[in-house]
């Protein structure tokens, strides 16, 4: 039980860190690369920073954790289809961002599993 608690805490803090990193990359991307869509990147980054705060505070984990998991997958899917259709967002910064986002999604999946084990 103690091992489970510790690993859950580790996963939560790892997820928080990943959410902060990807939020910061989104801000950076909006500021330097995005052109027409910079405001959208600020919004996406802001949501990640907010998610990181809520995750760190461990508020309503049963709702917040699946929401962040879904948000990360939603943005990954949105980016992949958008990139396929428009050719936009296929640069090194976007790849790093999406890599971190994929890690976050995996991490959140594991955290949800751990959190739901009674």
């Amino acid at each position: 039980m103690r091992i489970n608690m510790r690993s859950r805490s580790t996963l939560r803090w790892t997820s928080t860190t990943l959410a902060v990193i990807t939020g910061a990359i989104n801000f950076y991307y909006g500021n330097t690369f995005a052109g027409f869509y910079e405001n959208l990147w600020y919004v996406m980054g802001g949501i990640y920073i907010f998610a990181a705060i809520v995750l760190a505070a461990n508020v309503m984990p049963n709702f917040v954790q699946p929401t962040i998991f879904g948000y990360a997958l939603f943005l990954l899917s949105l980016w992949a289809v958008g990139a396929l259709l428009t050719g936009a967002g296929v640069d090194a910064v976007a790849f790093v961002d999406k890599g971190v986002e994929a890690l976050l999604a995996v991490n959140m999946g594991l955290l949800i599993q751990k959190s739901r084990i009674q």
């Binding site: 052109g35 027409f36 997958l73 939603f74 899917s77 050719g87």
Partner: protein, 145 residues
Amino acid sequence: MRTPSGRWSTGRLLIVVALVAVVGGALVGTAVGYGFHYEARQTRNIYLFNNGLDFNETTFGLPHDTFTPDHITVNKGDTVVLHYINIEDKPEKHNFSIGVPYNIDVDVAQGQTAEITFTANYAGIFLYYCKYHTPTMEGYLTVQG
């Protein structure tokens, strides 16, 4: 697939959330792809020349010089490289100026080429002009974004 307490199992929860998120993302991505015409920022090489209209400057009290082209359109974030060529057949100086926020002021002597590079970071419509031949030698830079 529900646990005895009535909750969804973890596996089912993850699958449902993942499916909704991926399908939702794909739908929005498709809408973005077809609904918006996004162009990644790029470097735009533009060749700019002085030109002359065929009228008597003294009669009309105006310089006969103009720009070709007199309209330039770029996207916000583009790098603009202007190759400004003075094609006068007599020794006459021309100039390319834009006011704030770009603050460009470059002279070009007869037969010379000036390369003017800047990043179009500010959206709007900006007057460019030759300070020696206003008001005829003018054009508009449109930065859309």
